[in-house]
Structures are given as C-alpha cells and as structure tokens.
C-alpha cells in the first residue's frame, strides 16, 4: 500500500527549476489498479520513478507499506526494488546480448537465487506469458509484442508486490496493444499485484476503474463507477 504526502520533485536545468511534481497526495491500496494519464511533460514518469524507488522526491514522503522510500539509503532502495517492484518499460529495455530466458533471469540475480532454480523460474515465467518456445531467442529475434512479454515475465518472475508500467503499449501497434493489456490484466489478477500503469491511450483509461490525471505536476483522481 502506497501513501504519498506532499510529494514534490524538482529538476534543475541550469538556472531554471522544473516542478515535475508539485505536491502529490495519493493513496494506492494493495491490489489496486491505477491508470495514470495526462499530457506530455505532466510528470507521469516522474511519479512512477518515485513509486518505484528509482529516485527520491525533493520533499514529502513516499511510503510503501509504512517505509518511507524518501529516507532510504541507495542500497536499501536497491533492495526494495529487487524484492518488491517490477518494472515494465515503454521500450522494453531488454539486454540485447542476452536470450529471453537470461533476460528474465537478471531479475533474480540480486535475490541470490541459485542458477538452476533461476533458470527454471525464468522458463516458467516465460511460459506464463506464452513464450515457452522462445527461451533461447535474442530480443532482436522477437517481435515487439514478444519482447514486451519477456519484459513482463522479467518484472513478475520475482513475484513482486507492485507492478509499475510506463506506457507499456506505447511502442506497439493496436493488435499487440490489446494482447499485452490482456497479459498485464491477467497477471494483475493472478498475482494480486498493486498495478500502476501510465498510458496515453484514452481507450484503456476509459475502461479503468480508477484514473489519475497529472497536469503540470498536480494530480486529480477520478473513480469510474461504471466499469
């Protein structure tokens, strides 16, 4: 469960400071599914970085299950990321020289999982996203949708509490997009994840029960009762 109180993030660019987040108050319950939308430069990615412990806020707090990520050391933050948080990126971010299976294994490396178990779990994760036949393929040998499935397998193989996705369908065409959304929704339900997803896609946002909109670093949350 996330609790954000007065979270701000400022970026310094020369003399100017950019308020990427201008005071966010937000609660995300365990197992919640939150879609974040908004215009470009609104601060969506920045918010996701705060949630994922990739960066620390300038002020305010980002509590995950009672621990304020803003106050953690870099190594503690690294540990939180390795255990609790799965990321899916817009441009997949697979290691180009590693096979699909090895890419998934990289998520288990910080957890000190034994090599054999690592391989088995990676294979199982890939099977669950429908890529059982592609274990030994390099990213370049996979389609965009398949690459994103590998990335989803990598995010989930460690069984995190939280899944954060930054425009996971942004680089995919329409048919792929629905396919990936299906996979993500299935995973969310199966694993009981807290799932936060940034998207530009209004058709996805329209179907979501809870949608946050970020504009100039300020957030408004809308509960969609219909869906």
């Amino acid at each position: 469960m996330y609790e954000l109180r007065g979270t701000t993030k400022q970026y310094r660019r020369g003399k100017k400071t950019v308020d990427a987040l201008a005071g966010i108050d937000l609660t995300i319950a365990d197992g919640d599914r939150l879609v974040i939308q908004g215009p470009t430069g609104g601060g969506k990615s920045t918010l996701l970085q705060m949630l994922g412990g990739l960066d620390r806020p300038t002020s305010g707090s980002v509590e995950l299950d009672g621990t304020d990520l803003a106050g953690l050391s870099e190594s503690r933050l690294t540990k939180v990321r390795s255990e609790n948080i799965g990321f899916v990126f817009q441009s997949f971010n697979l290691i180009p020289t590693l096979t699909a299976q090895e890419n998934v294994e990289t998520a288990l490396v910080p957890l000190k999982v034994k090599a054999r178990e690592r391989r088995e779990r990676a294979a199982a994760a890939l099977e669950s996203v429908g890529l059982a036949e592609r274990l030994g393929h390099l990213p370049a040998e996979l389609s965009g949708g398949q690459q994103q499935r590998v990335a989803i397998a990598r995010a989930l193989v460690k069984q995190p509490k939280v899944l954060l996705a930054d425009e996971p369908t942004g680089n995919l065409d329409e048919s792929m997009r629905d396919e990936i959304m299906d996979v993500l929704d299935t995973m969310w339900k199966e694993h009981g994840l807290t799932f936060v997803m940034v998207t530009h896609d209004s058709s996805i946002a329209g179907k979501a029960p809870r949608v946050a909109t970020l504009r100039k670093g300020r957030i408004t949350v809308k509960e969609n009762v219909n869906s």
Partner: protein, 493 residues
C-alpha cells in the same frame, strides 16, 4: 550470471572488444619488441667485450699510459740494396710489443694475491710486421760515386748523396704484412682471450707446452694464409707447428696467432714481461672494489673493467643501443599510456551507449557494484585478449628481428694500454712506408643483432594487459557506477 553475461557481451560485441584489445596489443607488442631488442643489444655488447676479453674475465690490468716516446723503439728494417740485376727476395720480421707498454711478470702474481681476485693470468700481445721483397740499387745519371739508395723505405740503404748526383731507377718492390700474435699462458687455459674462441680443429695447448714451438691459428687468418694443421709458421726465423685452429664465438679474434707466452717473450725480447693481465674476481658483484684495490696496491697500472670498456663502445651498435634504451623505451611507454587511455575512453563510451541497459539492471535491483564489476570484467577480458594478441605480435616482431639479424658495428675505443686489440699510441710506421704498422686506436667488430624474448618480458606483458584492462575498466566502471536507475526510463534511442 556474471560469466554468462560477460561471455555474451564479448561474443556479440566482438568488434568493439577487438578495437580495445588491439590498441592494447600494439602497446604490449612494442614493449616486448623494444625490451627484447635492447636485451639483444646488451647481448651483442657482451659479445663484443667477450671477444676481446675472453670468457670469465672481469677486468684487465695494463701499464698506465705514459707519454709516448716511441722513437727508440720504432722498428727498423735493414735491407741491403742490391745491384740492378739482382732480383733476390729479402724479408725481415719486426716483432713489437703492442702498445710498447709492458708489465713485469711478477705483477701477475701480485695482482693474483689481491683481495677479491680469484685468478689472474698474464698475456703478451705482439704485432709482427713482415716486410719482404726486392730492393734494387739506384743508378746515378752522372758519373758520380755510387751510393744511391732506395728512395722509399727509409732504410739505411741510401748513402750520402753527392750534390751533383742524382739517383735514378733505384727502388724497392716489397710487401708489407702485419699480423698479431698473442702469447698465452698455457698453464691457465680458463682465462684470457683464447677462451672466447672454440678450437674447431686440432687441439689447444697442453699445460705442459709452456715453451713449445706450437701455434694455434685464428680460423679467418688461417683461411687467408691457407694454413692447415701440421703446417709451419715462421716468425722471425722461428718455426712453429700449427696444432689447432680457433674460431671466435663472435666478432673478431683477439689475435691472428696464439703461441705459448714464453715463446712470445723470447720473440719480442721481453723476458718476463706481459702486456695485459686478465683478472677474474671471486665475486662479480665486487668488481669495482677489486678494481680500486688493485689500482691502489699496484702502482703504475690501469685497471679496466668490462663496464669501463662498454663505455667506449661506439659505432652503430652503440647508437642503436642508445636508441633502444632511450627512444624505444619512451616510445613504448608513450604508446602504452596512449593505448591505456584509448582503451579507457572506448570502454567509457561503450558504457555511455549502454546507459539504458545498465540503468535497467539497476532498476531491477542490481547493486552498483555488480554493474561495475560486469564492466570491469569485460575490460579485463579485453585486456587479456589484447595481451594475447600483443604477445603474439611482439614475439613475431622479435622473431623477425632475430631472423633478419641486422648487422651492427661496434667500435671499441682504446683504453689505456690496449686490451687485446691493437691498442694505444703512436703508430710506429716505418719511415715513409706508410701504413704497414699503422695501428688503429680502436677495434671494429660486426655483431648480428638478435632479439631474445625473456620469460619475464612475457610476464610483464601479461601484467600490462591486466593493468590495461583494469585501467579501461576503471574508466568504464566509474562511469557505470554513476548511472542512476532512473536512466532506465529515459527515452534515448
């Protein structure tokens, strides 16, 4: 995962790895070639010195140089001028002590008794000038009293000339032949110039042949004079039997002929005299101490160590040697530093191109140290590949140098009383004859350059390869350590 990732990176980014590796390879190869060429130079210098000294000689003792007053000892040839109808050949040998400076044989014992001296042996270097030919009396144009002499030759054949007389037709037709003879102490076969030659046929002196009329000839001299075993060589009327042919290990021989010391002393009328004392120190680390001990205790001597002699080596060998030790060393250091820098920058820029990759790994929870280790690991493997390539290249280079064996010339300056080579002083050339015994003050040798690769050179090369990899890894690792996990989200492509 470390090794899987490492292997995959190196295999799939082979080109980038090869660029870094070949930069390092070049530097390492240069280090190998330069260091083996300079050790080849050292070896060549050692050979030059050895050819003069013989094996195992640490220093020589000669008489301290004095102002030369050679007039009294200038060789004189006396021939009778014959009538114009006479074609009779005459010949005469002059035996001179080389450098005209001798030490008493007792000095050998004295030197041998000095502290730190393991062995000392005396030798007498002689120069023999043989003049042979026909000498005809000149004829006067006008009816004056006879007495014309040869116009050349400075001999006493020319009588007083009457002012009215003019000599015509008188002259001489002769050969001048000069060669060196070394009187060796046959009781001490382990020290002295003959040790740097191998007996390639026949035998060497027996220790009992202290005054035997036997000679060992240098192979090139024997070839020139068509000397074979069993032949006789006549020096100043004394016949010597050739018992052995000696071939120098390198360069020139110390003398053309070797005879027992006593014989040499008799030939040159220098009983109980030697020109050079060859000294072996009991501890090769103590040579300088022994040198000063001898210099202090036995006055009137010059002690020359191989280090002193090495300083007098000049010619292309010395130039090349200086080049190798100065320019070569700096060049290889410069290339090595450049290679390290280039490898570092390339590795660092490779990290920059993989910002998203490393950011992603950090986002997945990889510690900074683990990412850095990966980068350093890749760089070290690149370094090792560079090392292997460099060693191969360097060995190839050194092998090529040895295969080509460029010839270098070494000139040894005269030091003190001359060391085996015709040393020191005014040329005692016979008046007006020009050249028969004109002694050069230096000795020139041709030495083939080799480039032996020492095992520790290879060890150094491996060390450099690892160091190069670590330097490159430090550049890249530093860069990787500073990457923020949030960089994973950056949309750079």
């Amino acid at each position: 995962m470390f090794f899987t990732y490492l292997r995959r990176e190196l295999r799939r980014r082979r080109k980038a790895a090869l660029v870094v590796a070949s930069g390092l390879a070049l530097g390492i190869a240069l280090v190998i070639v330069v260091s083996s060429v300079s050790s080849g130079m050292e070896k060549a210098q050692g050979k030059v010195l050895q050819s003069l000294y013989g094996l195992g000689t640490d220093m020589t003792v000669t008489k301290a140089a004095q102002a030369q007053s050679a007039t009294g000892e200038r060789p004189r040839f006396q021939f009778d001028a014959r009538g114009s109808d006479s074609d009779e050949e005459q010949s005469s040998d002059r035996v001179m002590v080389q450098g005209f400076q001798t030490l008493a044989s007792s000095t050998v014992t004295k030197v041998g008794a000095q502290k730190g001296v393991s062995d000392a042996v005396g030798g007498l270097s002689l120069q023999v000038v043989k003049v042979s030919g026909q000498f005809r009396r000149g004829e006067f144009q006008q009816d004056q009293q006879q007495g014309g002499g040869n116009q050349q030759g400075g001999g006493p054949g020319g009588g007083q000339q009457s002012p009215q007389g003019r000599v015509e037709g008188g002259g001489a037709d002769f050969d001048v032949n000069s060669y060196s003879v070394y009187g060796t102490d046959v009781t001490e076969p382990d020290l002295g110039p003959l040790t740097s030659s191998k007996i390639t046929s026949g035998r060497t002196f027996k220790t009992s042949e202290t005054n035997a009329k036997v000679v060992v000839a240098d192979s090139s001299y024997a070839k020139e004079k068509k000397l074979a075993l069993g032949d006789t060589v006549t020096v100043k009327g004394v016949k010597y039997e050739v018992i052995g042919i000696a071939t120098p290990d390198s360069g020139d021989a110390a003398a053309n002929l070797y005879i027992p010391l006593k014989q040499a002393q008799t030939l040159s009328d220098s009983k109980d005299k030697v020109t050079t004392i060859y000294v072996k120190a009991s501890d090769s680390q103590q040579i300088d101490t022994v040198k000063s001990t001898i210099g202090k205790n036995i006055s009137g001597t010059t002690v020359t160590t191989s280090a002193d002699l090495a300083d007098t080596v000049s010619g292309s060998l010395s130039t090349a040697s200086d080049l190798a030790s100065n320019v070569g060393r700096w060049l290889s250091v410069a290339v090595l530093v450049a290679a390290f820098l280039v490898a570092g920058l390339l590795t660092s820029s490779a990290v920059s191109r993989r910002v998203r990759e490393f950011g992603t790994l950090k986002a997945l929870g990889w510690k900074s140290g683990r990412v850095t280790r990966q980068v350093v690991g890749e760089a070290v493997v690149n370094g090792l590949v560079g090392g292997v390539l460099g060693i191969a290249l360097g060995l190839g280079g050194a092998y090529a140098v040895t295969a080509v064996s460029p010839t270098l010339q070494a000139e040894l300056g005269s030091t003190g009383g001359g060391l085996g080579g015709p040393g020191g002083g005014a040329g005692p050339g016979g008046g007006g004859m020009g050249g028969p015994a004109r002694q050069t003050a230096s000795k020139a040798l041709d030495v083939a350059l080799t480039a032996p690769v020492a095992l520790d050179t290879i060890a150094i090369a491996v060390g450099l390869a690892v160091a190069g990899g670590l330097v490159a890894g430090a550049f890249g690792g530093w860069r990787a350590a500073r990457l923020r996990p949030a960089d994973a989200l950056r949309r750079v492509e």
